[in-house]
Symmetry: C2
Subunit: 333 residues, 2 copies
Amino acid sequence: MTTKPTGKRPTLRTVAEETGFAVATVSRALAGDPKIAQKTRDEVARAAQRLNYVPDRAAQRLRTGRTKVISVLLNLDHEFLGFSDELLDGVIHALSGTDFAISVMPDIRGPKRLETVQKIVHQHLSDGVILTQTEPFDDRVRVLTEAGLPFVTHGRTEFSTPHAWVDFDNEAYARLAVQKLVAQGRKRLTMIMPGSRFTYSQHLRYGFLSAVREAGVAYELPDEVTLANTPHEIAAFIRARQAQPNPPDGHVCVGEVTALATISALQDSGVQPEVDVSVVTKQASPLFEHVRPQIQTVFENLRESGAHLGRLLLERIDGTPPEGLHVLLTPEA
Amino acid sequence: MTTKPTGKRPTLRTVAEETGFAVATVSRALAGDPKIAQKTRDEVARAAQRLNYVPDRAAQRLRTGRTKVISVLLNLDHEFLGFSDELLDGVIHALSGTDFAISVMPDIRGPKRLETVQKIVHQHLSDGVILTQTEPFDDRVRVLTEAGLPFVTHGRTEFSTPHAWVDFDNEAYARLAVQKLVAQGRKRLTMIMPGSRFTYSQHLRYGFLSAVREAGVAYELPDEVTLANTPHEIAAFIRARQAQPNPPDGHVCVGEVTALATISALQDSGVQPEVDVSVVTKQASPLFEHVRPQIQTVFENLRESGAHLGRLLLERIDGTPPEGLHVLLTPEA
DNA sequence: TGCTGGATTTAAAACGTTATAAATGGCGAC
DNA sequence: GTCGCCATTTATAACGTTTTAAATCCAGCA
């Protein structure tokens, strides 16, 4: 009648013996099966509670094929400091009410990039995947789509097959940044681009180009250097450009790291940010509120993105078709 | 004889049928059991390879009780930008050769802090745990020790029962920072402390105090404000202090965020960092190489810490007793 | 009184693995 | 020629769930 004094974890069998019902009945009662009498369900629930019963994930997983795990592919190389930190926090938040575990895996750069998703699919490691730094024709998306494994990307693709995604409107950001610089009277704008293989690089380019053309100001988009370069290389490039005739007087930065490199390069070249030249950057943390001289920034809320990614993935796993599952976060002026 | 055209994942049974051996033999052959003839082992290995067989984690976990998962408790509130990013990268690196999965869970602040470890223990969610932001008598350590679950802390405790830990020598850092400031001729030093409940807060305090006393310079350790305050509050405090008579002329900062807040507060108060007053900070990323004016920094390698944490945890899981499993990383001058 | 049927409950199989204990086969020794 | 022994291999029983199909119970009805 009382709790067995055994030190082992209680199982369905323990609860069954305690209540006198069969294991199957207990299982279905706990699952809330309406074919089980309400009275039985209550009694079983109470016993389970009392015994501190929790289902064994391994057994459930083995039996049902559902892992109750989602994978998040992480990569340290990013334009934001602490990118994964913030994104993960959002994902954790979105999944906090569920019994899903979050498994982080490396998002390797280069030709081996596919390996992680292939491993997830082949070894059946999770019920869904969150991808970041998406490319227009991202092979990882291809693999996951073919495998029928639910996933959400941070960033859009150009596949015709629909999939869930969350994105920040980088086109709007670039446009906004250009407008801010133009409003400050800047006449020659520039921007260090992310590697052109990423989707958002195209969005940035388009937004930048259409805005500068609309404003009728001069511009230059260097291709000698990208965000894949180190901050030092970027700073060196900007200093070099500054030594040439007719340097840009307005800089659009895509992230905190580049912005700092840009500002320092300008200062080291003897020009004063916010006096001789203006800088605008996207930021994911309130970092720049404490950087002097203070420059204009646009906030990209990565925690919110993470939360959306988590939420959409849960919906996909639940069976919602990917068609409507899109979130486009817009920058606030 | 050839691969079954079934679309399902191959199991031990598939390999058994393919090779003609029994399931048990195949299992033990793949495990490298020396009681299985070498020839058999080779043949089974080849078949498994050919069939693309990978063991089912759920089944293994159910049978053996080993989850092949390690948990990392993460918390966004940190003195370093991207703290978890860097640490996780190290952990991922350390576990990359193994088949362990990394599960991230929230490290909740406040009275609920115990819940996550309790859940891990009770629901048997992983084979080992990595804790950060350790306290001298950390209840999480108590719970894990009692449960007999392997774990490694980032930061030391003051328990007499030994456990594995990795720590940065913050006492040495504080001492070093003070020495740098004194070498610059600074006469009145200060430091914003982390919340006193953390172990490393005591280390910092001790290092700071012993160094300033040794150098015979004045100092003040404010207790009105800690790293738990927002950067704005910290900046406001520094500005207020700066308006009082006899303000400090040397600031030891424990992290990037505070350092930026400090520098901006000083600038906003009309004093020039590196001219009127000096600042030294710890940094985990090369951030400050691009902050102007350039201040002195000491690097704390969080990736390395993460890698050690992962490595030591694997050893603990393997059965190595915790006695020798300590790593103290020392700051480089 | 015996049947039918709906409402509950249950026995048993299965998921894929590992561990225990027993079976098999070959070979040298007597 | 038989026995025993060692080296291999194997059948079987778990691990804790969920699910399928069958069993049970009881009321209502003929």
